[in-house]
């Protein structure tokens, strides 16, 4: 966990981060990021495998944090 982020939370919200959980919030459409549940931190943020879903259902993939991309195929077959 980022110590600077912990300091930010303490300063702005008066919360001390004392415990960490590996539970993460979920999908990109819902929002990926750091969240806090009382004093328990929610969040993992080491996402290596990225999928881009097009309007027409084409799936593109990157397995290296976005450095290189390739086409997987269409969801509707």
């Amino acid at each position: 966990m980022s110590s600077r982020l912990s300091q930010l939370v303490e300063r702005r919200y008066g919360l001390a981060i004392t415990e960490r959980s590996n539970y993460y919030i979920g999908a990109t459409a819902i929002g990926e990021g750091w969240g806090y549940k009382g004093l328990i931190m929610l969040g993992e943020y080491d996402f290596k495998y990225i999928r881009a879903i097009s309007d027409t259902g084409i799936v593109y993939k990157s397995d290296d944090y976005g450095n290189t991309w390739s086409t997987v195929g269409n969801i509707v077959t």
Partner: protein, 304 residues
Amino acid sequence: MAVASNTRAAKRDATTAYVALNYTDGIRIYKTNNCGATWSLVSIQNSLFGYTPDSLCIIPSNPDIVLLMAEDASNSYIFKSVDGGLTFTNKLQIVRNTTGHCRGNFLRFGIGRILAFVPTKYGGINESNFYGYTSDDNGDTWTFRVDAENTTGFPFGSRMSSLVEYATGATCVPGRSDYWGSGTTGVWFLETKNWGESWSVISIYSSGSPDWDTAVVQLLNGDIVISWNGSIYSQPRLYISKDLGATWTLKTPSLSKIDNMTSTKNRLILYSTVGGTIYISDNEGDTVTPVATGIEVVNSFLLF
């Protein structure tokens, strides 16, 4: 073969995700169990023919629950499935602007409360507005929380592709004023610090109005990044906060548009419809590097 449209995706867990999309027979629900490598058809919602999916929300603690925000020509809806997307029941219906272009979205707070920003009607002009609702029972009932227009004083529109809880109960929703109607333009951030119960305007940029597409992400270092499409400017915009939303800094990265955005660690991943290009930035938009081109319009990113 017909072509799907309006595909929206949401992740359930480390390997599983759902999509909803328009097809010739209605809204179809698909599911992957292998990080998007292959997809299987879950259901065809024939009764939702002519509806457009806005967003999906999956409940990690109950993976059989799937929430679908959708709209038809007159209304916005939230439908709920309790059987993994096989069947859906209408849980919320509000009037939307028939000519509006807003896209709603969900945010699931860490405590389990769900926030839904649902497109609704703004009277008289060619734009839309949002109502914010929360649900504490996984989408069965919804409590009205905010009229974005009344809070900002102006119509409040955007196509928000991602929202994030960046501290306990805290999130911000980016919008923009009416471009076509009132002549008063600007950008707004609505922020809540109490899980959506009350809202305030945290920043106003009044001299211009970026285009519709917005996204909010948070980097590993805690910085919050909001993107706006910049199609009526020469450049798109990023707003960066290094103090959890207390103050914001404007950046104008060197690319033509930002239509969608996600992040991993401290890297921004930006999608632009110009050339169908994916860019990466490891310095919060100071420099951007194109890494792929010819990518069709990206509505959703999934991170595994």
